[in-house]
Symmetry: C2
Subunit: 198 residues, 2 copies
């Protein structure tokens, strides 16, 4: 037996989203049928608008509905520092901290030879081009603390350092509020390596 066509199509649509299997998809689809029609219409519109109205900032490559994005456009931000991130979502994480006032550069990925992703496939060349401008004095590399993120950080640092621009990397160590007992060996060894005098 098959679901009626309209619900089968909706389930298929949900299944295409990441992390949603057939069971969850059918649960979501049935939920949609029980929603108010206006809410469903609004959600459908939000999908289309998000796809159509969003673009990437031509300067920092962050996702935006204006170009340049409002961060690049903000005259109060410190234009001498650029924080390099893997994804647009990471910008939100840093912004939430409310302490960083510099600019961003979103790579949209990390170097991963295993997956055939080289520096040219992510926004590394665009970063190098941005740095030719004299205003940038520090590049904070905040790629993920994973093998790919570290490789990307190393690659960029080797590329940028000769230009005299300061290159920094976020500290590795124990997460605040974490338990030493549950820290993995690599994190612990990084935390010891990066220890500071009190």
């Amino acid at each position: 037996m098959q679901y009626p066509q309209p619900i089968a199509k909706l389930i298929e649509g949900f299944t295409r989203l990441p992390g949603i299997g057939p069971k969850t998809a059918s649960r979501l689809a049935f939920h949609v049928i029980d929603m108010k029609e206006d809410d469903v219409l609004e959600f459908a519109k939000a999908l289309v608008h998000a796809k159509r109205d969003l673009t990437y900032c031509s300067q920092c490559h962050n996702i935006t509905d204006t170009d340049p994005c409002y961060i690049c456009n903000d005259s109060h931000r410190d234009k001498s520092v650029v924080c390099v991130l893997q994804e647009s979502r990471d910008v939100i994480a840093v912004e939430k901290m409310r302490e960083y006032t510099g600019l961003y550069h979103v790579l949209h990925g990390a170097i991963s030879p295993m997956d055939g992703i080289g520096p040219e496939d992510i926004k590394v060349p665009e970063l190098i081009k941005r740095l030719q401008d004299d205003t940038i004095q520090e590049v904070i590399i905040a790629t993920n603390p994973t093998i790919e993120g570290e490789a990307t950080a190393m690659y960029m640092s080797r590329l940028i350092k000769p230009t005299g621009i300061k290159v920094t990397r976020l500290a590795h160590g124990l997460p605040v509020g974490g338990d030493l007992e549950y820290a993995d060996e690599v994190t612990l060894s990084k935390a010891i390596e990066g220890r500071r005098e009190l």
Copy 2:
């Protein structure tokens, strides 16, 4: 910092779905932005169509795009047996078995005094009305093996039995392929209670 308006709206839309928190919602929203525009349009259409084109069968209350639904309409099905289920999704589960050839009755819930849901709030009166027809000879109650499902089964059985119609309930016991060691006490006790001679 806020997300650009179009993505914030989409995240909000995803958050309204069951089991999707803010983190998953933002992951899904960013995925949508990376999808092909055609695929997004199709998904948006599927949402609206599922909401607009689906209705409930006036006989069995299963979700359908035709009324009566194609099961009620199928002349090959055994019209003397009705399987009573809590949700439309359960119909799919039973149909997948490919052994049941009778009709269905979807209650859209279970009796739950704690939540203020009585027999009148689910499709119990509609079932009783259906049974006034002489064709139905057996009612298989396949509500969930939960407190609410059991209460609903007991309530309906007391209501139907006096009419002389056979009322049966799905067997409780160990799931096939399961491990005795991991069976909970209640299931195990039900399995012993329902043991059969070999």
